[in-house]
């Protein structure tokens, strides 16, 4: 059994499955929409050139809120998203080698699937996204907040926008600088030689394991998983319903009322919410 696997591994070993790659590129495309609309809203020369402020602002808010949707759906669809979930757990925790990789610039080969830089950029994307979600909500649903809070939120939102620009450019330059990795996000595989040199601690066989070698379970506790899906599902569904009502002009008095795009966005959101809730239910059944 092993000989055939090893022969194939010599040329190309699997790194990312189809679900992971689809999530990556959907998120990247949506992220580009968010950054492009942000630039139109922020850079005076672009604002003057393109105008249409109300429309651009709505696209920016919808695209921004949808950013985590591919990831949430993929990690909630059961076994098919399990590899992506496993990668996320691996990215979350840092080994001694990762910390040295980052702090001392000691660039020893990573002892797992990802190195310190990859873990850092993932954490930055997650952290900066949450900052934008928090401050963007204060700016958009500004009703309950004082002018000082709104000003503070705008201040943070603007600086993090510049920060995100730097992180995205860095991420793209790094990917171009290591073509094996960039290609793996397209084809799903890396050359065996690269894997042995750059990721000696990573065993590519777990990426294909199916049956003969069961996929190791993720280390996210089931209870936490269920809670995230339940809370996420309820919030996302509620927001979806509100948007549909506003889009159909049943709920009035908002800038979104009577705009058809919100009914469409609300329907997408409601579907995401239902998937999350079903997944939460499945997790709960699996526990009991």
């Amino acid at each position: 059994m092993t000989s055939s696997v090893r022969t194939r591994a010599a040329e190309a070993v699997p790194r990312f499955d189809a679900v992971t790659r689809v999530v990556h590129w959907l998120t990247a495309a949506d992220g580009l929409v968010v950054l492009a609309t942000a630039s139109v809203l922020y850079v005076p020369a672009l604002s003057a050139q393109i105008g249409r402020r109300a429309t651009i602002m709505e696209i920016h808010v919808v695209a921004g809120l949808l950013l985590p949707a591919p990831l949430l759906v993929a990690t909630s669809i059961g076994p098919r998203g399990a590899r992506l979930a496993r990668d996320l757990v691996a990215l979350w925790r840092w080994t001694v080698t990762d910390r040295q990789w980052l702090r001392r610039g000691k660039r020893a080969a990573a002892d797992g699937k990802f190195n310190g830089g990859q873990k850092l950029v993932t954490a930055l994307f997650a952290g900066l996204f949450l900052m934008q979600l928090l401050t963007g909500s204060v700016m958009y649903w500004n009703g309950p907040f004082s002018s000082a809070w709104r000003t503070g939120a705008t201040f943070v939102h603007d600086w993090v926008y510049l920060g995100l620009f730097v992180v995205v450019v860095g991420h793209v330059l790094k990917a171009i600088g290591e073509p094996e990795l960039l290609r793996s996000m397209v084809t799903g595989a890396v050359p065996g030689a690269w894997a042995r040199r750059a990721r000696p601690g990573w065993d590519p066989e777990v990426e294909t394991a199916n049956g003969a070698r069961p996929l190791p379970a993720t280390t996210v506790p089931k209870g936490t998983q269920m809670l995230i899906r339940l809370v996420g599902g309820v919030l996302v569904s509620l927001l979806g319903v509100v948007w549909i009502l506003q889009g159909l002009d049943i709920a009035k008095g908002s800038g979104m009322s009577g705009e058809a795009i919100w009914a469409v966005a609300g329907t997408v959101l409601l579907l995401v919410g239902v998937v999350l809730l079903r997944a939460a239910n499945a997790t709960r059944s699996a526990r009991s």
């Binding site: 809203l41 850079v43 005076p44 604002s47 003057a48 393109i50 105008g51 249409r52 402020r53 109300a54 691996a90 979350w92 925790r93 840092w94 080994t95 990762d98 910390r99 002892d111 797992g112 873990k119 850092l120 993932t122 954490a123 930055l124 997650a126 952290g127 949450l130 900052m131 928090l134 401050t135 204060v138 700016m139 500004n142 009703g143 907040f145 004082s146 002018s147 809070w149 709104r150 000003t151 503070g152 939120a153 705008t154 201040f155 943070v156 603007d158 600086w159 993090v160 926008y161 510049l162 601690g201 065993d203 066989e205 777990v206 190791p216 379970a217 280390t219 908002s254 800038g255 009322s257």
Partner: protein, 248 residues
């Protein structure tokens, strides 16, 4: 359940990812609470650099003192000073067309300095404006007793705003032609725009084309009001804010 092939035992790893994420959230929260002051300090610190920067790139930094350019249509309208006419009509005794010279020279001028505050949160401190108090324009045309509101039209063809007659007669509501010591540029709504000092930025209609006296609420009050913003946009006291309105 951990597989031996899963990498080193969890005891040897650190949840740096979690720290980065929680740290960002904390920083974001602090920023909302104290960002307003931080921005003011930062702007002061950075001012010497921006003043000497020939490229203008530092203008892109998120500090106080920079206007965002809002335009609701696809292209910003353009009108020269020579072609500019301000129509004042509706429920008035003498419907009139004012020229740029009327607004700039003939009618009484005032200068005021105020903070410019956008409803979404960006602000520019201490902005000097020059213009004609709107009540002088209203007196010039003679408002009929039946009029209750003032409706403003922009020559971009889309943007509209309105004030109650009482609000329109405030001393700090201007038909403005100068901002920060310079003639109003096209980006800022020139050659002539409305400046409603006590209210959020959206009430200060850009590219002022026509002032119409009416006896009822037109188009729910204006462009942004149709999109959910308050009709009476006093800074701090509207759009669900509960601070006292800024007094002069």
């Amino acid at each position: 359940v951990t597989d031996p092939a899963d990498g080193p035992a969890p005891a040897r790893t650190t949840p740096i990812g979690r720290r980065v994420v929680l740290g960002s959230l904390g920083l974001g929260g602090l920023g909302v609470l104290f960002g307003s002051q931080a921005q003011r300090q930062l702007s002061k610190a950075i001012l010497p650099i921006t003043l000497r920067d020939p490229t203008g790139l530092t203008d892109l930094l998120p500090v106080a003192g920079r206007f965002r350019i809002y335009s609701v249509t696809d292209t910003m309208p353009r009108r020269s000073v020579a072609d500019y006419r301000l129509r004042v009509d509706g429920l008035v005794e003498r419907p009139t067309e004012l020229s740029y010279d009327d607004v700039h020279q003939r009618l009484p001028q005032v200068s005021i300095r105020r903070d410019f505050q956008c409803v979404t949160g960006w602000r520019v401190d201490d902005v000097p404006w020059v213009g004609v108090p709107l009540h002088h324009v209203l007196d010039e045309v003679g408002v009929l007793p039946s009029a209750t509101r003032v409706h403003f039209h922009s020559f971009d063809g889309t943007y509209t705003e309105s004030l109650s007659l009482e609000q329109a007669r405030h001393d700090d509501v201007l038909v403005a032609h100068s901002l920060e010591g310079k003639a109003l540029t096209r980006e800022h709504g020139g050659p002539v725009r409305l400046y409603v000092a006590p209210m959020y930025g959206y009430k200060s209609l850009k590219w002022l084309d026509r002032i119409e006296l009416v006896d009822h609420l037109v188009e729910q009050g204006g462009y942004w009001e149709q999109r959910g913003y308050d009709l009476d946009g006093f800074v701090g006291a509207s759009n669900n804010g509960h601070e006292a309105p800024i007094e002069q």
